[in-house]
């Protein structure tokens, strides 16, 4: 029990520097951005051009003339209170706008993740089961193509085939599950390819172990060996990397959202970039970073369920 607690506390403590790193990265983005928040704020009515003196006063009022480290800390404090500033374009709180968009990206990402897990893992197991056969070769070719194809190109091909030609699926918009099918497949393709290959390799490695030989010697049928002894052992390296690949899914969603006009975080940041809305870009970095970190924490916790070595105290 103590070991589990120790493991969890260690994982939680390791998150802190990463979270700080994300905020520092977002803060630096704000500094290198070629805009002065004071001037933008004074210009918001769009009528008058502020004088240099007015801007300087406003800068002092907003604390922009303080040392960077002080500015960072007060900015960090604001973020901890859920305040990311006001969007230059819509003039509404960025935090609220991002919260509005977050469910879209989360549902797209979870759909994609689910799709990746339910296709790549069984396919990988099947490839290991049929190792070096014709179907193994075909699936390995498929995995190679999935990892090498650009997601946005695949998305357009899907739109062409399934929406324009076959009229099966809606081209764009958000609301029903049907709207998420094509985006999820396009977004997940790369990860499916990598994970298929990984699952196959992991299972083949497990199948070389001595306890598998014992099971074979007992006369246990091969599919049963894979199911009872192979699968669970091979899942550990796969789940480790699933955490990493979730980063690819969450950040790749920007391209996919823009193609399928899904109103998520990704299309938000692209609008923000077009409108030079720098605080909104900072908000996007913090939000996607946060989602990524939280997901990795979930993966670490799921380890406890899978890996007895950690439960038994092997750090």
């Amino acid at each position: 029990m103590n070991d589990i607690l120790f493991y969890l506390v260690k994982k939680l403590l390791m998150i802190i520097p990463v979270l700080l790193g994300i905020t520092i990265a977002a803060f630096i983005l704000g500094i290198i951005s070629p805009s002065d928040p004071a001037a933008v704020l004074l210009n918001m009515d769009g009528v008058s051009t502020p004088s240099a003196q007015e801007i300087a006063n406003k800068r002092h009022e907003m604390g922009l003339d303080r040392p960077l480290i002080v500015q960072y800390l007060s900015w960090l404090l604001q973020i901890l209170h859920g305040d990311l500033g006001i969007s230059y374009i819509t003039q509404r709180p960025i935090w609220d706008e991002l919260m509005l968009r977050l469910p879209v990206t989360i549902s797209l990402a979870s759909c994609t993740l689910l799709l990746v897990i339910v296709t790549a893992i069984p396919l990988g197991v099947f490839m290991a089961y049929k190792n070096n056969s014709r179907s193994d070769f075909v699936l390995r070719t498929a995995a190679l193509i999935f990892t090498s194809v650009p997601a946005f190109w695949l998305a357009i091909l899907f739109m062409w085939i399934f929406s324009e030609e076959l009229h099966l699926l809606p081209t764009s918009g958000y609301g029903t599950l049907a709207h998420l099918i094509m985006p999820s497949v396009a977004l997940g393709a790369g990860t499916i390819g990598i994970l298929m290959r990984l699952q196959r390799a992991a299972l083949l490695e497990v199948l070389e172990q001595h306890f598998i030989l014992t099971a074979k010697a007992k006369g246990m049928p091969f599919p049963m060996i894979i199911w009872k002894h192979g699968l669970l052992n091979s899942l550990i390296p796969v789940i480790t990397l699933l955490g990493n690949y979730f980063g690819a899914i969450i950040s790749g969603s920007a391209v996919i959202e823009s193609i399928f006009s899904l109103p998520g975080l990704g299309s938000y940041v692209l609008e923000a970039i077009r409108g030079r809305d720098y605080p909104a870009i900072q908000g996007y970095v913090i939000f996607t970073g946060l989602v990524f970190v939280l997901f990795n924490l979930l993966v670490d916790i799921s380890y406890l369920l899978l890996n007895p070595k950690i439960r038994l105290g092997g750090k």
């Binding site: 983005l29 062409w160 391209v255 692209l270």
Partner: protein, 278 residues
């Protein structure tokens, strides 16, 4: 160690495709029948013909020539970005693995932070804030991908550091820098070549996505990602505009991934061949 001649045919095919692409990128000015940015107002949106092998786009630019120049842009940029990533990642990874201690802790903390950031999101944000230019792209790619490199290099260095011959050279009075450059670097060279190759493929894909979003290579520069973006309005009537650049990216990345596997075979980096694609 496996002989080049013993490699499966599929690797040789991949090598041929890659060589074809690289040489057409290098010799693009000689091969290309038209200037990639030459606008022919009378010949817009033509389908494939003898005059225009892959047709022309909405502005009347020759697609075949643009594909060739696109290869030039993609490959040269990806190689440059992978080099920058490798130099930063290898330097930090070697220092962190070789010296250990507080330096190692600090670099590992940085690695953890950078790996905790979703890469493509950061690239989009950096390119968005700095404005799209080759320099900001290079910066974005290097910053988001050095950490993985350095983590692997550190692992390799940790293994080699304890070898007897390193101890031997050190007792002969070799400086740390000399050991790093003359003994450690050559030992991790094979792994580096493989990492470098595979990284090029990843970078080609990310740059294509960024260009597709309008944050990568800027027009009128011929770029495959940007060409797909231009083609997305016309794809039903003019599929050549969409298919040609997409298939090129696919072929380039697939052959790079296969070459990565082949190199792994050649250098016997991983004894088991389970992780190979084909």
């Amino acid at each position: 160690m496996c002989n080049i001649k013993q490699l499966p045919v599929i690797y040789k095919i991949a090598a041929c495709i890659l060589m074809l692409m690289v040489s057409s990128a290098i010799f693009a000015p000689i091969i290309a029948p038209y200037d990639p940015n030459q606008v022919l107002p009378d010949e817009t949106l033509q389908s494939c013909s003898g005059a225009h092998l892959l047709g022309t786009d909405a502005l009347g630019r020759d697609v075949f020539s643009r594909i060739l120049y696109g290869a030039r842009v993609s490959i040269s940029f990806a190689v440059a970005a992978a080099l920058c990533t490798m130099i930063l990642g290898v330097t930090l990874g070697m220092i962190s693995g070789y010296f250990g201690g507080i330096i190692d802790t600090i670099i590992q903390l940085l690695v953890n932070i950078f790996q905790g950031l979703p890469g493509m999101s950061m690239m989009i944000a950096i390119a968005g804030v700095m404005g799209p230019s080759t320099i900001s792209l290079l910066f974005a790619v290097t910053l988001t991908s050095w950490a993985g490199f350095s983590r692997i290099v550190r692992g390799e260095v940790l293994k080699i550091r304890e070898e007897n011959y390193i101890e031997g050279v050190r007792s002969l009075g070799a400086s740390d820098f000399y050991i790093l450059v003359h003994y450690i670097l050559p030992n991790i060279f094979n792994s580096l070549i493989i990492l470098f190759t595979v990284r090029i493929g990843t970078i080609v894909l990310s740059i294509a996505s960024l260009s597709f979003l309008g944050l990568g290579m800027q027009p009128p520069e011929a770029d495959w990602g940007a060409m797909i973006n231009d083609a997305k309005i016309y794809f039903r009537s003019y599929p050549n505009l969409l298919l040609a650049p997409g298939l090129c990216i696919l072929a380039l990345c697939a052959s790079i991934n296969l070459i990565g596997d082949a190199l792994r075979d050649l250098f016997s980096i991983e004894q088991d061949r389970n992780k190979q694609y084909l």
